[in-house]
Symmetry: C2
Amino acid sequence: MIDVRNPQDGFAALRARISALGDPVGDDRGADGEPLTVGEWALLIDDIVEHPDQNTEALWNVASPEEDDREYDAIFIGGGAAGRFGSAFLKARGGRQLTIDAWPFLGGSCPHQACVPHHLFSECARELDLAKHMQGKLWYPEFDASKASILEIVKLFRAGRGMPHAIMNWQSKEQLGMEYILNAAATVIDEHTVEVDGRRFQAKNLVLCTGARTDFPAEISGLDRKGVYDFASLIEELDEEPTRCVIIGGSKVALEYGSFFQATGCQTTILTRSPLLRTASLHHVDEGLRDYVIDMMVDRGIEIVEGAQTLDVLGDDRVTGVRYRDANGEIVEVETDFVFVGTGERPDLRMYEPLGLKIDDRGFVVADATMRTSVPNVYAVGDLLGPPMEMFKARKCGVTAARNIMGEHHEFDFSEYPDFFHTTYEVTWCGLSEAEARTEYPNVIKIQMPPDDADPESFALPAAEGSMLYAFTRPILSGWLKLLVDADSRKIVGAHHVGYGAKDAFQYIDYLIRRPEGFTIDQMADLNELFLNPEHFIQLSRLRAGQMSLVSL
Amino acid sequence: MIDVRNPQDGFAALRARISALGDPVGDDRGADGEPLTVGEWALLIDDIVEHPDQNTEALWNVASPEEDDREYDAIFIGGGAAGRFGSAFLKARGGRQLTIDAWPFLGGSCPHQACVPHHLFSECARELDLAKHMQGKLWYPEFDASKASILEIVKLFRAGRGMPHAIMNWQSKEQLGMEYILNAAATVIDEHTVEVDGRRFQAKNLVLCTGARTDFPAEISGLDRKGVYDFASLIEELDEEPTRCVIIGGSKVALEYGSFFQATGCQTTILTRSPLLRTASLHHVDEGLRDYVIDMMVDRGIEIVEGAQTLDVLGDDRVTGVRYRDANGEIVEVETDFVFVGTGERPDLRMYEPLGLKIDDRGFVVADATMRTSVPNVYAVGDLLGPPMEMFKARKCGVTAARNIMGEHHEFDFSEYPDFFHTTYEVTWCGLSEAEARTEYPNVIKIQMPPDDADPESFALPAAEGSMLYAFTRPILSGWLKLLVDADSRKIVGAHHVGYGAKDAFQYIDYLIRRPEGFTIDQMADLNELFLNPEHFIQLSRLRAGQMSLVSL
């Protein structure tokens, strides 16, 4: 074991070892006897991730009996979003926790393989899209697709991911006071006992937080060929620049990574059974939003095949093509050297077999709104419970488990939430779609840009933070928005946006419109806008709010 | 006059004339007898703006007595932000208004010379900054500063500004039902009478909405030389590519345009008397935010001279340099071919002399919280009233005047509001600065990224929408944030952000924290974040909200 807690014993040796790895970025080097800095953590984590065979020792940050001799209130198995936030909350409430992760860092798949690279890739997609669109105009040179390398961007992420990892380890230890053991597999013995790094730990409760991973469809043959990736193996294993991409599945991940691959100049085909953005896991998707998003993906050259049943991934050692049955029942082959699977995720529950948990028919753990499973003192959180597999849910599940363990009855209902994904745009929504709103309320008005009767190629709105160059060169590319209002109560019932810079606001708009008292068009109109605000809802509401009897805009 | 209202009389001729100007973008051409489309409006407006001497006829959109024979409730002089929103609200409330503007479009200086070009320029600054920083990495070629032309970007704006103008005219007529006369100067006769295009109009009230313009300091000689610009003349008159820039003044406009000029490769010096971001017109500027913003401007190579008293702009016909007295009393000369004046704005009130309005000692119109001036039935709104010269204030002043004119007593207090400006970053804040919070509350905690004790060169947060490429190449460039909480009440009292994508959210955060009941760290922690959310406030609050006794993060 490597004890990262005790500066007296072995700490100097650890620091000497870190020092030998190189210079921390920004020369963020700690003083003798002081805890590891973020820069030092980054070097250590990178070394372990790069050379796992030579780094089998666990990282121990566990209080000695002199520091704390209390029984653990909970052991969190998995230190990702759910486990880390749950642990931090339990600790903040005065409890004692131990968090165990197989990786040498806290934060889980998000900063290692999932949301963080996704955001880097989506930012690259946006910038590449702009560079391609603007080529030959202003300072933009001719776009050289041969320079836009998926592999290079993946390498940039791989080289830099140690830094966010380091912050998680540093913050969890120095700011949050958490105890953890990393780079070590946990073995569940029973509902109070976990073995890790050769030692058994007892706790009043267990919180299971090990997440989910891509569910490779068993009915498709050839998914084990080289050149077939999911979001995780793309990061770990990509070794050649793809020249042509086929995506199997129509999930958010498929849309996001497909848009990224296409933006780099890698011609991308999406094979999806269900129509895009009409799957059960994405609720409240407005039809107008869907149309704009798909039109703009097609405008960028992505080929979308709906109603496609993928049959085989072809090739020998490496993939050479994909065979599918199209909506008419015809068998079609596409040549490709790169297949990306985005068919959704499932948890791996084998390690929990000793507990005898109740599992639902989709393979997710059954838990109530307090995160209690069918086994007393065992809680399950995050992606283990099924969709939505979103960060807010994972973290708040962890916190909910912590609150209940610490004696506060607390329920978390994640059936309603704001939602988003990326194409080359940021797509965000909350509340009801227009069709849903019209079903629920007899008198719905909408505020929409561009309006239905406008020619979107000449209607230079929305123009805002991040869409100005599009607005001034080809307005249709600058985005789309809609606000839905129940004209009788004047309450806002849905908000939808495609563009840039509105995602952060939707967190608050969702809160406001879902308060019991709601949020009216008059309240929206009375806010102080920061013009040119990305979603324009405030001022557009103000243009209508004068009306006693509301009319669409 | 050109009657844009009556499709029967002369409308076909107008359309033939528009047709002769070219093809509307997106071929947005109206049918015979139908109102002008956005595309047609754009062609017409562009022609008038480009050739004012050949386009002296006013554009009339005034109801005939058969359509509406009521007296006007108000004439709005000026159809900019304040006048257009006030007019729309008064009309929506069932009143009758007439809006008059000297330009051939509604919307005022914002889409013509001010906020819209500022946002286009700030977006270019951001993209140029990224292109320069990333040069030689990934797909980014070596940065060629000779291609980054201020003049070309100004020309792009000039060529495209007709489109937003067109939307204002189209929307105001077709969607909002406003009456207006454009491309015609108004002459105020008395508090009920305005003459325009050779005809006198009577109204129960006047609303003065003519805005402000740059206040060129009288004590600086040579400001009339070629090569000296303000935000308005930059758009209308720039004819040569600047090679070196000196900015006189330290206003928001100075920071924004200075950052843009520097980003294009034009070496920029800012001469300011007061320390940057410590002027009375910008309140609640946090010291940490100020430091980060200025450090990052200096990092980009901008030269900032505080305590500078500009004396003369040197040159013959064209500017060749600027002479100033520095903080030590030394006289310094800087060579430059381009001077930009950002010393703040004042209204031109000469046209209102017949009214005998009360004016304050800074030259602004005196009005109460209902926008009533010292003259009965005369309202003044927007920039005429002084700072803050912001869009939300202009529009809501107009609406406030409209409400009071329509018989509803309504007061508008614009002393508190969220605020923002651009450098190559988006800088946003609301509530109190840390120093203010510590004066007001005995027990303030803060949540800050990077924390004070971190090395910002290696602390890869904030990383979010729009700052991922920075976070993965040089973390210090990726932004800065701070949330201030009164630990006793647990209420959030201030929020501050430098980065990208948070501006829209600050509109709602400001509302939430300024509600009478406030918004606590616990309520913030309970929101559903859309991760990676630009300001990270929700999840960072959640990491602390478990504590009964709050501690800084």
